[in-house]
Amino acid sequence: MDLINLFVKSIFIENMVFAYFLGMCSYLAISKTLKNGIGMGLAVTFVLTVTVPINFLLYEYILKPGALSWAGTQFAQLDLNFLSLIMFIAVIASMVQLVEMIMEKFSPSLYGSLGIFLPLIAVNCAILGGSLFIKIKDITNITEAGVYGFGSGVGWFLAIVAIAAIREKISYSNVPAPLRGLGITFIITGLMAIGFMSFMGIKL
């Protein structure tokens, strides 16, 4: 039950885009057509689901204050927290590279549609944000980390698909010239975020 709660919470209530503004850059840049939006959303979901549990293990067994106590009592006092940024980003960059290679080998068609988005993901802040939130939200085991990563990814996917569909439609309407493109996208995202606020406080 807790897991379902965490899942729903990470999709709707603490949505990466609407509540924390993470991954905004690619969200704005790649949402011009629905097809690209779906591709990017899938790629982000996939990478989040893989990297959050790995970074959780890294944090829990190497980086956390006193986490190295399994290696011997002389390491028990060590606090490697300051290394977490570099470690997380290294894991993400290498995972993205790995995912790209595996995908190219086993599913060329999927690679063809996602391929160009994968390198962009290494610098998508939703991915690094997901890993950094491990420290703040009390995630205690690897299953929770996996569910959290997957849920955040699905939330991001929903957001980019929704905005891409709206942007495709809005190209037919008469927006004031200075507001065209970026401006109206911001305002629509703001209105969508107000909509998503209605999920606040829901508990399963």
């Binding site: 609407f18 993470l22 940024l85 190209s171 010239a177 200075p178 970026l182 996208t185 703001g190 975020a193």
Partner: protein, 230 residues
């Protein structure tokens, strides 16, 4: 031949080496362009994430701006120094290593000397690593230009970024809580006599997006060459 050529050479050398002054017109343009015509946030669409999340009050926005100026200036200089040594294939990882060590430095300093603000900024200092503005300028500028120009470009873009950040934070704090830098600016009698109320809605995250949208509208209405085709 051997007697004449050195003289000739030196004169050519002298002409070609005639340095442009440190703040020539071109260099000044590098600094001033990002403030308006080529603003990283409203025109290049880089670094939006942090621009929105930390603009509830002015103080964290200013601290964030200073951190970004430091990180961008240093990383641009470092990458520009290394630009002939970095193999093209692994340049992203080199960028990430340079940026994340600088950001880790900033994070530790803030935690030591400004703990409250660092608590407020929470993960967003860490997220400077993936702030596309830093990466974008490294890729687009520092990789192909000299040290001094890269430094100016880094500082200019960081200022353009900070300018937008501070503008959004200004409106949100003023309208949302009637304060600037945590000091009450809207006098008490306006609340009492005219029944003025703070607009608490400005403090919620959706209004950051809408405020930025409106700022973009104002900027493009004034500077019409920025209007998108579509």
């Amino acid at each position: 031949m051997s007697k004449e050529s050195p003289k000739k050479n030196t004169s050519i050398l002298f002409i070609s080496k005639e340095k442009e002054p440190l703040f020539s017109k071109k260099n000044r343009k590098l600094l001033s362009d990002p403030l308006d015509d080529n603003n990283p946030i409203t025109v290049q669409v880089l670094g939006i994430c942090s621009a929105l999340a930390i603009t509830v009050q002015l103080e964290p926005a200013v601290v964030m701006t200073m951190s970004v100026i430091f990180v961008m200036a240093c990383s641009n200089v470092i990458i520009s120094l290394l630009r002939n040594l970095i193999p093209n294939r692994i340049r992203i990882i080199v960028f990430l290593v340079v940026i994340s060590s600088l950001v880790a430095l900033v994070d530790e300093v803030l935690r030591a000397y400004a703990y409250d603000v660092s608590k407020q900024l929470s993960i967003f200092i860490g997220l400077i690593v993936t702030n596309c503005i830093v990466m974008g300028r490294l890729e687009a500028f520092a990789l192909g230009n000299g040290v001094w120009k890269s430094f100016l470009d880094g500082v200019g873009n960081a200022f353009g970024y900070g300018f937008m950040l501070i503008a959004v934070a200004f409106f949100r704090e003023l309208l949302g809580s009637g304060k600037l830098f945590d000091i009450q600016v809207i006098p008490q009698f306006i609340y009492d006599e005219f029944g003025y109320l703070n607009n608490g809605f400005m403090l919620l995250s959706p209004m950051a997006l809408i405020t930025l949208g409106l700022i973009i509208w104002a900027q493009r209405a004034r500077n019409r060459k920025l209007i998108e085709k579509n």
